[in-house]
């Protein structure tokens, strides 16, 4: 079953485009100037964009990894504004935008769980509700465009320093054309108890979404940031190129959870990087279910003594999909520890690749890192690869790497059948069991949806 094109793709609806301003097809320095002008940005940001654009024009796509040859940068609209200004309440939203969010259940989720919603519609944040408690605690949670205007000193200090435009072709492109995304600043010692959530959607054909997220967690603070993505179906290829930068200060902890279900025509190229200082903890929980191609290798730079980095990764590659994901743990300081757990499922000719990159610097003594990469392959047409890379310049590092490849066995299916489970039900149960170590880490509302999506995916995949 080709999930994104099937009737089962519940979230594959779209509403009429309500475009106020857009830049037309393709990217040029004049388009970059236009974007900056529409946003009324300060000169330093325009300068940043133009330099990034220069780097993008000189950059080339990686020689390794998935096939990106069908990606046509000139067939994409780089900026499209969907509403004039951010609004304060759901009632103020244009009806078709509300309808989109109603169908993915944002208000429902908000009632029950949310500390604050930042719902991105096309490239502009249209809705924000930041609860009073956050304001009282001094937490800043706003869209990135607002942050550039309201908090220029903080933004300038951190923006583009962890993932510079020169990092890779996608980060250069994002830096030139970025729009929207979230800015989060947690003051010293503040612990945000409920997850901060943002919903991102792409809702225009051939429209690239280039959000940019910056999170700064000051000393001893804690935040769980959550992004969930579902997107409507379109016929031509779309691009999502994002950059996420996270600064975790001394003794702080940040968890960043992504549950992503882009429709099957989207190139999803994301650069995510965090820097963990002394005794800080950074946790990535990354679930990639959709897209045509995903390239994403979240990194933690363990820069302070005693810092910890964790990556829990889940990828589902179906027909015509290539999930090329991974994790990077860079141990620069002594006594730093990292852990990677990756679960991938390949089916109907899908391909999943996992690239684990562990590096331990010369002076980083007393470090440890463990990786477990489990792959489940549902049929003979599908493929899974693990590319572990371990390099240690410290003699006492403890490194462990384990990789397993499993096929859904006839014996287990028969066992479940003898209990009355159909092949689809049995397959769904086995796959949900396989991914359980990752799924148990994500909030209930997402894990239920994830289990349900897996069950839908299993139809016609097993038996």
């Amino acid at each position: 079953m080709d999930f994104p094109d099937s009737d089962h793709y519940k979230y594959g609806f779209s509403v009429p485009e309500r475009t106020v301003k857009e830049t037309g097809l393709g990217l040029s320095s004049s388009v970059v100037r236009q974007i900056s002008e529409i946003k009324g940005e300060p000169a330093w940001m325009l300068d940043f964009r133009l330099k990034a654009y220069g780097l993008f024009t000189e950059s080339s796509q990686p020689k390794w990894g998935p096939d990106l040859s069908a990606l046509d940068y000139d067939a994409i609209t780089y900026y499209r504004k969907s509403t004039e200004a951010a609004v304060k309440s759901w009632d103020d939203l244009p009806p078709e935008i509300r309808e989109t969010y109603d169908r993915i259940g944002v208000p429902e989720a908000e009632k029950d769980f949310l500390a604050g919603v930042s719902a991105q519609y096309e490239s502009e944040v249209v809705y924000e509700s930041v609860q009073k408690e956050l304001t009282r605690q001094g937490v800043i949670f706003c869209d990135m465009d607002t942050a550039v205007k309201k908090y220029p000193e903080i933004v300038r200090e951190y923006f583009g320093t962890l993932v510079p435009p020169s990092d890779n072709f996608s980060s250069a492109l994002n830096s030139a054309a970025w729009s929207g995304g979230s800015f989060v600043h947690i003051p010293k010692g503040v612990k945000v108890t409920l997850p901060l959530q943002a919903y991102f959607r792409i809702n225009s054909e051939s429209f690239g979404q280039f959000e940019r997220t910056l999170i700064i967690a000051e000393e001893g603070s804690f935040v769980h940031y959550l992004e969930g993505c579902t997107a409507p179906i379109y016929r031509t290829d779309s691009l999502h190129s994002a950059v996420v930068e996270i600064f975790v200060k001394k003794g702080a902890r940040v968890r960043y959870t992504t549950v992503q279900n882009w429709s099957g025509n989207i190139y999803n190229l994301v650069t995510k990087r965090a820097k963990a200082e002394e005794d800080a903890v950074m946790e990535w929980v990354d679930c990639n279910l959709g897209s045509k191609v995903t390239m994403k290798y979240p990194a933690v730079i363990l820069a302070g003594r005693g810092a910890r980095g964790e990556m829990l990764s889940l990828a589902l590659a179906g027909k015509g999909q290539h999930q090329d994901t991974g994790a990077r743990m860079i141990h620069l300081a002594p006594d730093t520890h990292s852990r990677i757990i990756s679960k991938s499922i390949s089916k109907n000719g899908g391909r999943s690749s996992f690239r684990g990159d562990i590096r331990i610097a010369k002076n980083a003594t007393g470090c440890s890192s463990s990786s477990v990469c489990d792959a489940l392959i549902l049929d003979k047409d599908s493929r899974s690869d693990t590319y572990p890379s371990l390099s240690s310049h410290a003699s006492d590092a403890r490194l462990a790497h384990e990789a397993t490849v499993e096929k859904i066995g006839e014996e287990k299916l028969f066992y479940l059948a003898s209990r009355g489970l159909s092949p689809q039900e049995a397959g769904g149960l086995l796959v949900n069991g396989f991914i359980e170590p990752v799924v148990k880490e994500i909030p209930m509302e997402y894990s239920i949806e994830l289990n349900r999506l897996i069950n839908l995916e299993m139809e016609g995949s097993v038996g």
């Binding site: 028969f414 479940l416 003898s418 209990r419 009355g420 489970l421």
Partner: protein
Amino acid sequence: MFEIRNLTATIGDKEILHDISLDFESGKTVVVLGPNGSGKSTLAAAIMGRPDITLSDASELTWNGEELKALSADKRAKLGMFLSFQSPLPIPGVSVEELLRSALDGKKDPVVLHRELRTLAREIDIAEEFLSRSIHDGFSGGERKKIEAIQAAVLAPSLVIFDEIDTGTDTDAVKRIAEFLRAHLPEDATKIYITHSPKLIDLIKPDTVVILKDGRVAALGGHDLAIKTVEEGFNKIH
């Protein structure tokens, strides 16, 4: 009434069972004995409908007049058949409670099931944690068998086959499992026990004993036949 007629079963190109015909009446307890490799487990799996077992055209399996051969294992289970596995494989991330929730498919309230499982666990003497851990993952032989027995009790099948429910368990556990099953299986269920254990045979007091040898029915009898066979070995039977 469950009837097997001219059952000839092949796995790959190897014929394992040859022309077996047996009747199983409702409410009766049947013991299947036989040396290793005599086809006992294959018989159990063939009755349940394991997909890699091929039956000859002449083979017939009927249950209360219904032809089973065309039905897949899950459909047979839905009709009320149940197979307790000799060495069930672990299923990571799936607990027996989750498995039973799926198997019951909404027919029992999850809260009721949750309570029932805890009561059953106490009765069969297994720690509650085994209900929520990954099923059979790191379980001892005895723990596996108890979890299999609990599933049989919850699903209340009308035809149930226990493939060596006693192996890997100590004497006390065998007794406990036998008493548990007597208390919880429906009275009119047909119970088929594949076993080597005189202890278990004493406990369940079979109505019928089937001796399998080399994939054929070598002898049929009552409880006495079981005792005699266990005492004298299979070589005396021709």
